[in-house]
Symmetry: C2
Subunit: 698 residues, 2 copies
């Protein structure tokens, strides 16, 4: 009842709360008739908790989609109707070979459809796959499909704070109500778990990596236990971000030195305490010695010392340590190289339960980054790919930016560390170096806004992350089409239009904000709007000029041997291509080269003219997105349509803001005119700066 | 359509979003038949914007409640059906005498019901009054009722920050989406305006009194203008909290000295700019020289100098300045006296457009305070009463505390400044000193939580504030009954039970947190949980020991002539009663007296035994609230019932927490045993302290 209350399945107008699990009745069609004929009962044998979840979700989905009651029975034996059988079976039956505990097979057996898995979770994933078939109007006659996750640990990382705020969150406040837990379980927790399970996610780090020690106190562990109890029936495990100094802050110890016997003992006892409360606790996520957070280096120890101590504290429990490589000392010559220099030497020193979590790029979730040089550089260490779903650098919740292409760009990158074909994908899934464990993490874009993500299309980023974490071979377009059909409309032309807009959206964003490999030129601290002129900050590598290096000669960060030589961190083949401005892809050009303003590029234009061209055409492309979106109005819920249309207006305005700020600012160095046919900005650089300044006010 | 999307009127399960404006169809009854017969059309003559709002809201409400279409027509002339006529008419017709522009009269004229007002707003308030009759099952046959607001400026004050957080907010984040405005208007803004108008509120200060200068920039004024455009059709005006140093921060001036010609010019020009964008702008709310905020005293000027300068800046526009008296210098002997000492001498120096905004009590929204000594002490100055709806000191969104009795307690207080009967009410409505203008402000308890206020009963505090602002003669119980019938249930026994729980809830909260006049002993900075032992803070008057003064002899702050003599700020009659521990009401005892632990009180118990008795009986009373709530389960929506039941569990746990913390801590001074029949706490003071400490962790 509570879940119904929250999901409000009886609402006609669509407030976005139900995400892609709408289960609205399908229109009258021969196909629906076939679905109805095939789904006259659900047989679920056994008492596995997650299996019951699967049966209940399938019943809910079928009854909604088909508009007919679908009973859940204990067995299909002797039943003459056609139905759907859910079964936990040995591996051989599922795949004919040992396979993931989470995999599933959907097959036609006699008159029934059977959804098999080696675990309740496998069956649950199969159920969502089957529902997806119906939601996307796929035939189910003779259905025979199987799938296993290609990555083992598939997590959302929540940067949620104990005070209810979300660091870099743009969709309201944290959905975790710490003052209400454990007594009150917000119905939203269950709907959150349903959404994650439906896309194959199996873990959640619930608190900010800039962590508070309070989550490790008995008081808060009771709250975390309550959440774990909601997630468990959906095959989701809870992980905690830990504050390194916890043994001092809440343990009363004088040190947090990982090699100190008392510290080891404290963490081991704390781990026992956690597992007593949460038997399936997933493990720890750690941000240490980064951006002011304490860590083992405070005691002259290494990241490996710290990670291994935590791994030891987990004892024999089935948990892991995800240790973030996002570190950069103040004053390093090139922030690009910092994580590599700190972690590469530690390869081989990490305990078996430790995974090192690496962001897709070397700086910090910019709109486009070259793949992180650590991928392929630590063959003895499983690496977790960390991507960001919340749009910290992608226009907050105002800009329509579909991030699947960004994630794929990193996964598809060829590190060449073991010769051509050594893709980041193979590093992450462990196949390149035969690791037993693998992981991927997405920084959540979720908040208390009714539609969860602020921008309705932000839901697609959550959805796409889960789908790619399960199966990175899916194309961005295929995932976008799935999401669109399940969430917005099944009308083919409208689907095609929306998928086209989504597919191009990230490149468009790059063009009007940071084309040609520009990076880190956004507004100070809040990361809103353009501020390429930022020259003073807490640290040089928090300014913009540190990164774009604009001068009278040209633009860009020389990371060749003549410069910071960050390129040397990559395999020879990559160095060779990116190291030569003539062969370096234009998308990465200014990441690695300081290019003369009048230097001709492969496009035939000079750097300056190409730069201006991209800022202008990128901005014009937002108008194109608006025109395309306008065409789907008849096919999309009116409230959802109006929401996206209004946000596109904001995006259009802010694209012009970025364009004007950047071309006017860089023009002070290039001394070049705005090339025809583009019309110079009608406002002055001073006017744009004052607009940016106000967003820096307290 | 957008509004419908947000209001989701088609949801069966109740998520609380619709507040008290549910408009669900009334059950079949003779009364509904009568309603239907009387409401066959709505006639609205004229084009006044707010009149159209009134007609639309009435149509929406009637069609929902009666389950029949109710057409809106231009005139009732010649219509033979029975209907409802909305009309803007001269004062005489409404009241037979000049009366408030916002007043209304509902009367039976021939076959029709007529809702008359001198303005569209008057008619709108009348429409909501008529709908309330139906929602609360009152007869409408021969209906004849009229009402005018007793206070002119009835505002909500939002402590909402530009970053989306709400200072002291416990219901999610700010409902204002600054990054979306002005392009996107969240449908929620309209539902917010409907809710305010339905209870007679006519103004909104949209930003935190700890103000950012950015609201005064052209960029943000466009956003504020967009909100004002949503509120205007509901008779609601927008006000802005201003950052005193704005002329320096965004104006580029070297000073914010109110007597500086350039500063005066800047504010005058800014005021013009605002009125050009928002012709019905309400005015400014100012927190100056308080808790670190800048103000005129930074330049050796007085609060009057600052307020009058702003009033002059408003020029001939119909706007006001609300200047907060909440000031207290660090190191003052008794914070209780600070506001009085700063403002009393300024009485008579304020410009006609200035109102001084005074909190109900002298400290800061404690669970019970004596009325503020400024009430009655500034006869030449209109005073705005400021009360707090967000439960900063009342258990956040976890505790069921109905604040109407707290507000009434202040309004009913007799200042005796012009002899007996000089109530705070007469000060606030201006009648005691014949002021032309009057105001009341409630600090909003609203956020993005789906049900607006976190705790479902928090909605009743929003509702009650509006109703009391309109007519303070209404009783707390009558308002609670109205709200309950409109929001939860109309079943008489359940209504009686819920109203009884609400009526007692505030006294119960006082008993288990701060009985007998204890105050300001809550957790440091976050104001969560008990921390009576707090002795070190940024300022002495931010500690707890500063206020309770517990020692081996006794407990309480001696504010008699033998002590800080704060009592001298009150009229002689009040001094006489409160100055003698024997005649001082026990509810205020420790506000004014340091009482010996073994001192017998009027209850026959010693101070210590009475203190312990109140902590224990108060805590037991929460269990009583739980039992009472359990009885209404069959009559209340399941989701709403479960929500409140769970929060009552939290309240019960935290009541024990307060009880144990306070009796164990004060026992270290009293050296007295816990009197029978009460069972001593099973935990130690150290254990309770460690629990409080963790909520002080970052």
């Amino acid at each position: 009842m509570l879940v119904l209350a929250a999901a409000a399945p009886l609402c006609r107008a669509d407030d976005g709360y139900r995400l892609w699990l709408k289960y609205d009745q399908l229109g009258d069609s021969p196909q629906r008739t076939q679905y109805r004929a095939a789904a006259q009962f659900i047989a679920a044998t056994g008492n596995a908790e997650v299996l019951k979840t699967a049966a209940a979700e399938l019943q809910r989905g079928l009854q909604g989609l088909l508009g007919q009651p679908v009973p859940v029975v204990a067995s299909a034996a002797g039943d003459t109707r056609r139905g759907i059988v859910l079964a936990i079976v040995p591996a051989a039956k599922v795949f004919g070979s040992p396979a993931s505990l989470e995999g599933y097979r959907i097959s036609t057996q006699g008159r029934n459809l059977t959804v098999m898995g080696r675990s309740g979770a496998g069956v649950l994933y199969g159920v969502y796959a089957l529902l997806r078939q119906l939601q996307t109007s796929q035939p189910i006659a003779g259905l025979n499909l199987s799938s296993s996750p290609r990555i083992q640990y598939r997590l959302l990382n929540h940067w949620d704070n104990p005070n209810g705020t979300v660091e870099r969150g743009y969709a309201g406040s944290s959905i975790w109500k710490w003052y209400e837990l454990p007594q009150r379980l917000d119905p939203r927790y269950t709907d959150y778990a349903r959404a994650n399970a439906s896309i194959g996610l199996n873990g959640v780090a619930i608190n900010n990596v800039n962590a508070s020690a309070r989550y490790l106190t008995p008081e808060y562990l009771q709250k975390v236990k309550a959440l774990a109890g909601v997630f468990r029936p959906y095959g989701i495990r809870v992980y905690l971000s830990v504050f390194w100094a916890a043994p001092k802050v809440i343990g009363g110890l004088k040190t947090a030195d990982p090699l100190d016997p008392q510290v080891k003992q404290w963490w081991a006892a704390k781990s026992e305490e956690i597992y007593n409360a949460i038997p399936d606790f997933g493990g720890f996520l750690v941000k240490a010695n980064s951006e002011g957070e304490p860590g083992p280096q405070d005691y002259g120890r290494t990241h490996a010392d710290g990670a291994n101590m935590l791994a030891a504290a987990l004892g024999t429990h089935d948990g892991i340590v995800m240790w973030r490589a996002f570190v950069y000392k103040a004053g390093s010559s090139d922030r690009f190289k910092q994580a590599y220099e700190d972690f590469k030497p530690l390869d081989g020193q990490f305990a078996p339960k430790v995974l090192v979590q690496v962001k897709n790029g070397p700086i910090d979730f910019q709109s486009r980054e070259p793949f992180h040089p650590l991928f392929g550089a630590m063959p003895k260490t499983p690496l977790v790919l960390e991507v960001q779903l919340t749009q910290e650098y992608l226009g907050f919740a105002s800009h329509l930016v579909y991030v699947a292409p960004l994630i794929k760009e990193c996964l598809d990158a060829d590190t060449q560390t073991k010769g051509p074909g050594s893709t980041a994908t193979k590093v992450v899934d462990g196949s390149l170096d035969q690791h037993r464990i693998s992981g991927i993490a997405g920084v959540a874009n979720i908040g208390t806004d009714r539609n969860w993500t602020g921008h309705p299309v932000g839901q697609a980023n959550w959805y796409a992350f889960g789908r790619l974490a399960w199966d990175y071979t899916l194309t961005s377009a295929a995932i976008a089409a799935e999401w669109t059909k399940m969430t917005l409309t099944r009308e083919p032309q409208a689907v095609a239009t929306i998928v086209d807009v989504m597919a191009k959206s990230r490149d468009i964003y790059v063009r009007y904000t940071t084309p040609l490999g520009l990076h880190h030129i956004m507004g100070q601290s809040i990361h809103y709007g353009p501020e390429p002129w930022l020259a003073e900050a807490g640290r040089p590598d928090w300014t913009a000029v540190y990164y774009h290096k604009a001068d009278s000669l040209g633009l860009g960060f020389d990371r060749t041997a003549a410069g910071s030589n960050a390129l040397a961190l990559y395999a020879p083949g990559v160095q060779k291509q990116w190291g030569d401005a003539k062969t370096c892809p234009l998308n990465y050009l200014l990441w690695f080269h300081h290019v003369g303003w009048k230097q001709p590029l492969s496009t035939g234009r000079t750097l300056w003219n190409e730069l201006v061209t991209r800022y202008y055409t990128g901005t014009d492309s937002v108008a194109w997105m608006q025109r395309r979106w306008a065409t789907v109005k008849p096919q999309v819920d009116a409230a959802l349509f109006a929401d996206v249309a209004a946000r596109l207006q904001i995006q259009q305005r802010e694209a012009r803001w970025w364009r004007d700020a950047c071309v006017l600012y860089f023009q002070t160095f290039s001394k070049q005119p705005i090339p025809a046919p583009f019309v110079p900005p009608t406002r002055t650089l001073a006017e744009v700066k004052s607009l940016v300044d106000l967003y820096q006010l307290k």
